[in-house]
């Protein structure tokens, strides 16, 4: 009896303290979650508490929007009747941060642009992260912040996502996959196969800046230049072009393989010839200089914020004016023309005054040795 009393009295006083502790835990749980680790560990990918903290403190914090917030397995949203566009792209760029951007805004802009140049209005994106054990959380925050800013700039939302962590050495810091859906707000059929003789080829700005920036940033060359990646969302530019010019046949963003590769796709798909005037292609001096030194051709170098448009020749001036009226198209130019002969081929009229074939590149552009 006395024992149980003693026990109960002895538990009484600690109960208060226990309650205090429990209250503190409750309070802590209600507090905004915070990632205390400086580096990503395998626990962040385990699906447990650390994952939850990472998702809430890093991803949700940056991307917050009503579709993402429930953190359900799928984002759910209503759609209007009509046509949708769906695309996906993975980003593995090295280095992760470079002048003018990082893997984050690249991952948003790239997928936004794939939707935009298809003629769709980008709506929502997904974001999947593959993180390497040991990746600095601070770097992840920088990446995610730039994704959020890019999403804002493009007027889209990141509505669902996923995170995996792989062992050290099994990935290069951070890989991102984004998928995006967009809606067609017009009934025009765009596509490179619709190009026809008499059409003109436009680019929305100077070519090759992203690719050369990355090559220089890798530091293998000991060349420095005042260059930035051109990464940018093109949906605004595309919308102004489509609004102003009914005769847009096709658009492509000039990423891997550059402008030359796209024009080869046009030539093959439409069974037409494409003649490009080297003089007319806008290229910044820094890009030209680096390309000369490396023995590569800027027309094959990747851009991340430039589009190539094929437009009815009669509306070339309107298209040029529409592009130039937009800040991202201020240096747009007509660079070539579609013909019928020789079908399937791209010819380059060189600045020197000669003509040559501009074919698809085999593999990566490898620098020449002498």
């Amino acid at each position: 009896m006395s024992t149980s009393e003693r026990v109960s009295t002895r538990t009484d006083r600690p109960t208060d303290r226990e309650q205090q502790v429990l209250d503190r835990i409750d309070k802590a749980r209600r507090r905004k979650p915070k990632v205390r680790e400086e580096r990503i560990t395998l626990a962040h990918g385990s699906g447990g508490k650390a994952t939850q903290t990472l998702v809430e403190a890093v991803f949700l914090d940056a991307f917050r929007n009503p579709l993402l917030e429930p953190l359900e397995d799928s984002a759910s949203f209503p759609v209007d009747a009509g046509r949708m566009a769906l695309t996906t792209d993975s980003y593995v760029v090295s280095p992760l941060f470079f002048p003018g951007g990082c893997i984050g805004d690249l991952a948003v802009n790239g997928t936004v642009n794939d939707l935009a140049v298809a003629g769709a209005r980008p709506l929502h994106l997904t974001a999947g992260f593959i993180l390497e054990e040991g990746f600095p959380v601070e770097d992840l925050r920088r990446v995610v912040t730039s994704m959020a800013a890019a999403a804002d700039a493009a007027g889209i939302r990141i509505v669902t996502g996923d995170t995996k962590v792989v062992q050290r050495g099994k990935a290069d810091g951070c890989y991102i996959n984004t998928a995006g859906v967009g809606r067609y707000e017009h009934s025009r059929e765009l596509g490179v196969a619709t190009a026809r003789p008499g059409d003109v080829v436009l680019v929305s700005g100077p070519v090759g800046e992203h690719g050369i920036t990355i090559m220089l940033e890798r530091g293998e060359l000991d060349i420095e230049a005042d260059l930035e990646s051109d990464t940018a969302p093109l949906n605004g530019l595309v919308a102004s072009l489509l609004d102003a010019v009914p005769g847009v046949r096709a658009m492509r963003d000039a990423t891997r393989g550059g402008v030359a590769t796209i024009l080869n796709e046009v030539a093959r798909a439409a069974d037409v010839s494409v003649t490009v005037h080297e003089d007319a292609v806008p290229v910044r001096t820094e890009v030209r200089g680096a390309s000369e030194l490396l023995g590569i051709d800027p027309l094959y170098v990747a851009c991340e914020g430039r589009l190539v448009a094929i437009v009815d020749g009669e509306q070339a001036d309107d298209a040029l004016a529409a592009l130039r009226a937009h800040p991202l198209g201020a240096e747009a130019a007509v660079i070539g023309r579609i013909g019928d002969d020789p079908p399937g081929m791209v010819l380059l009229n060189t600045a020197f005054g000669g003509t040559r074939i501009m074919d698809l590149l085999v593999g990566d552009p490898l620098p020449r040795i002498c």
Binding site: E220, S273, R356, R368, C370
Partner: protein, 378 residues
Amino acid sequence: MRFVDEFRDAEKARALSAKITSLCEPDRHYKFMEVCGGHTHTIYKHGLEDYLPENIQLVHGPGCPVCVIPMGRVDDAIHIARQPDVLMTSFGDMMRVPGSGGNFFDSNAEGTNIRMVYSPLDSLKIAKQNPDTHVVFMAIGFETTTPSTAMTVLRAAADGIENFSVFCNHVTIIPAIKAILDSPDLRLDGFIGPGHVSTVIGCRPYEFIARDYDKPVVVSGFEPLDILQSIYQLMLQLTEGRCEVENQYARVVPWQGNTVALKAIHEVMELRPYFEWRGLGFISHSAMRMKESYAEFDAERIFDMPGVRVADPKACQCGEVLKGVLKPWECKVFGTACTPETPIGTCMVSPEGACAAYYNYGRFTRTRVREVSAHEHV
């Protein structure tokens, strides 16, 4: 862009083209060989042949250092790369050159570590950063790149680096030109001399070509106007009945060459008795090897080399193309079995190779391109 645009001026090109045409005897055909792969590249990249009259033909010579490396040497390099704790480095062009069992990319997919570098010094830097790994630099190239390999070995020796060596495949241009001149099935009217090589060896080594073989030589720069001017100088020599070595690239090439570079080469390397050239076969005294005194930097002495000779594929006519006897498109496998994606001969591998350059840039006949481009104007 300064120092580039001046040498690509279309107006000056037209003027030179007219002067060249005016020197052509109407019934005569002229064949000039550009020895260097860099020239071949310029010619195709800028469409330079459009400025030449139909009766001047350019023949693409053996001066692509990647193209002349025989398969056996690629196999040897892969063999070295397969040794434990070895990291192999080479220039980018080498990565796609096929050995008998695949190229460096294929070999890397099977587990070797062969990396692309831009300079042998980068390779030495990798060695310093990875003291537990033996770093081998697969050295290729004519006299243009030989000095940088030699200087790197001298630097490695001075710094006491013990985990670095060179797999030496440097070749020399003069014996190759001589082999071509001695080839009975060849008809050439003159040579566009290799500019980069000449910055090192100077112009004097070509004098025998004019003296003993009665062929004019003009050492040329690499911009399209340089090459046009060199062709003009060759035509002028033929018209005036002269036969000399001239230096069009005097802004870079000293007549005596670069004595410092030559000294570095001869400190570290010596001529091999003979070396196999892809397509041209064995040519005596045509390549360099490391001297005994630098044996500790010589991958061929450090590693047990299989050194198996792999015959060129039978269908491949790289030899004839290198000698200028065949135009690339005249080869039996050009564009069918042999393409830049699946090269059989090395002329198709490097963008400087005559076949790759022709495949990428020149598949159209000049007349056809002219017809088409005449109709197309923005």
